[in-house]
């Protein structure tokens, strides 16, 4: 046991994939920023719904449909509870963070964005929080503005007040950077924005699994995340939106379940949350996501965060001791993500050797090219930590780095 109350052996046993061997080596999985592994609690519930209770939701009058609908609506309430939303209909299920941001970019754009209007993002966004806004700006003749970060990877929040104008219609910021690991001061950003009556969207793709999020306390207007990065299934994501906004936004997709009455002359839309959930939703994904969130709650997000920080700090320290590692992202407020380069070694070469050693890290831009443009590079190696990683795995990673350095450096 690594920390009081955090039984890492038990946790690891919950994730069957961790027992895998890769190239005859035990798998050391440090690619959690890309996707997390699934605990038995999630695997089993998906299995069970596939084998026993699968049925299309909402429109059925039969038992299976009832069961599936209840499970789906309970999943919505679980998400509501997890982020402490005021109303369950403020939770919309989508296909993932990318689907969520695109939905908001479209619906918010249709409702509020006029030519010349401005949207503010940051220099450390994932492409998912850049490209939808660029596409919107192109369609609407509006403008994208960017809060820069400094070389430590800290957002230059002091520039925000200059960037906000009367034309600013939305600020969209990542909570935790998927490359720099920086935990952004979202509370401060929200406060500043609200003083200018500007709503804020938070990309929580990299924070929902690492930090406590209370949307009411934060007073955030929109928040999005993916199931697969928080130990849940693929193909499921969430939009949280304040009721007052969601009521005003037009629907994104048209189809079944999101309508009230359809005639060829005129179609009227359903109430929240259904207005935004066209067609057969990924209800099994939602039920799986709910099991994942419950799994986290059973352990406790505070404990998880503390444990992960311990592993992250240990990793940072061990890498520094090697003497030839450059770490990108040195904010004192940092979580889970460790981007680094090995002096004299190309990341692609390192990646190949890591793989042969059973170590799964990611290389490249991590879908955040502007971050690397900042540093004048094309990317870096990334080890990203989840609740099941250990200091022993960090030691093994450092051993692998030494081997890479010996072979290539």
């Amino acid at each position: 046991m690594s920390m009081t109350g955090f039984n890492i052996e038990k946790i690891r046993a919950d994730f069957p994939v961790l027992a895998q061997k890769v190239h005859n080596k035990p798998l050391v999985y440090f690619d959690n920023g890309a996707t997390t592994q699934k605990p038995l609690a999630v695997i089993d519930v998906v299995n069970r719904y596939h084998s026993e209770l699968n049925s299309s939701i909402h429109r059925g009058v039969h038992f299976l449909s009832d069961q599936a609908t209840n499970a789906y609506e309970n999943a919505r309430r679980e998400v509501q509870h997890y982020i402490n939303a005021k109303e369950s209909h403020e939770i919309i299920f989508t296909s993932g963070t990318t689907g969520s941001i695109n939905m908001l970019a479209f619906s918010f754009g249709e409702r509020y964005i006029r030519p010349g209007d401005e949207i503010i993002i940051t220099e450390m966004e994932h492409h998912a929080n850049i490209v939808p806004w660029q596409m919107l700006c192109e369609r609407k003749g509006s403008k994208l503005k960017v809060i820069p970060f400094n070389d430590l990877g800290i957002l230059q929040i002091e520039k925000l007040s200059e960037l906000i104008t009367e034309k600013t219609k939305l600020i969209s910021v990542t909570h935790i950077s998927n490359t720099l690991g920086t935990i952004n001061p979202i509370r401060e950003i929200i406060n500043i924005a609200h003083r200018h009556n500007v709503p804020v969207m938070i990309d929580a793709a990299q924070s929902i699994q690492h930090a406590r999020i209370d949307v009411q306390e934060l007073d955030v207007d929109f928040l999005v995340f993916s199931g697969h990065k928080v130990y849940g299934p693929t193909g499921i994501g969430v939009v949280y939106g304040k009721e007052k906004y969601l009521e005003e936004l037009p629907p994104y997709q048209g189809g079944g379940d999101m309508v009230d009455e359809v005639t060829f002359e005129k179609t009227s839309y359903n109430v929240l949350p259904f207005k935004f959930e066209a067609g057969t939703t990924n209800y099994i994904g939602a039920i799986g996501l709910s099991a994942a969130l419950q799994y986290i709650e059973d352990i406790g997000i505070a404990k998880i965060a503390a444990y992960e920080t311990e592993v992250l700090n240990y990793g940072t320290q061990q890498m520094e001791e090697l003497g030839y590692i450059r770490i990108y992202g040195r904010s004192p407020q940092k979580a889970s993500i460790l981007c680094f380069g090995i002096e004299g070694v190309h990341m692609a070469d390192a990646g190949m050797i890591f793989d042969k050693l059973g170590v799964a890290v990611r290389i490249g831009s991590h879908c955040a090219q502007p971050v690397w443009q900042h540093f004048g590079m094309t990317g870096a190696l990334r080890a990203s930590i989840a609740l099941y990683n250990t200091k022993e795995e960090i030691d093994y990673l450092c051993k692998a780095i030494r081997q890479v350095k010996t072979m290539l450096g």
């Binding site: 939701i57 909402h58 059925g60 038992f63 009832d66 609908t69 609506e73």
Partner: protein, 147 residues
């Protein structure tokens, strides 16, 4: 007049004699015919409660401080359940209705009809009955103040 609680208990006792769902449903079908039907003129969109698969119309009048409900549905089992709701709630003071806990539906084995997924309008109907009571409550308080 018996309390809401007592009428609910009465209904639960009535249903207790049935062994299976078929008898219970047959009884509901009988009850459907006893429904104090809504004025035909009010079977229009102003009085409709939107459910997905069956339509329900509801009206409430306020007489001598009591709320008098009448209703109709094009589905017979739904109508049976509505007749029970009216038996429990109609002819009472707004305050009683607002505070009522309707547990008999669950107790007589019709819980699934209250599932939000059933979309038979029953949940919406109960909500609307309460809303009428709240409205008349406010109205009567205002009148008292006016006096």
């Amino acid at each position: 007049m018996s309390t809401i609680q007592e009428v609910q208990q009465e209904i639960v006792d009535e249903f207790a004699v049935f062994d299976d769902w078929m008898d219970r449903y047959n009884y509901l079908i009988e009850l459907a015919n006893e429904l104090s039907v809504i004025d035909e003129k009010k079977k229009n969109n102003d009085y409709i409660i939107k459910g997905c698969q069956s339509r329900v119309w509801l009206n409430a009048e306020f007489e001598d401080g009591k709320v008098i409900y009448s209703a109709e549905s094009d589905a017979i089992i739904t109508r049976g359940i509505i007749s029970l709701l009216i038996r429990v709630l109609s002819g009472r003071e707004p305050g009683e209705i607002i505070n009522a806990k309707l547990e008999f539906i669950d107790q007589i084995g019709l819980k699934e009809n209250l599932s939000p997924t059933r979309a038979n309008g029953l949940l919406a109907m109960i909500k609307q009955m309460r809303l009428y009571a709240i409205a008349y409550d406010a109205k009567s308080k205002k009148n008292e103040q006016g006096e």
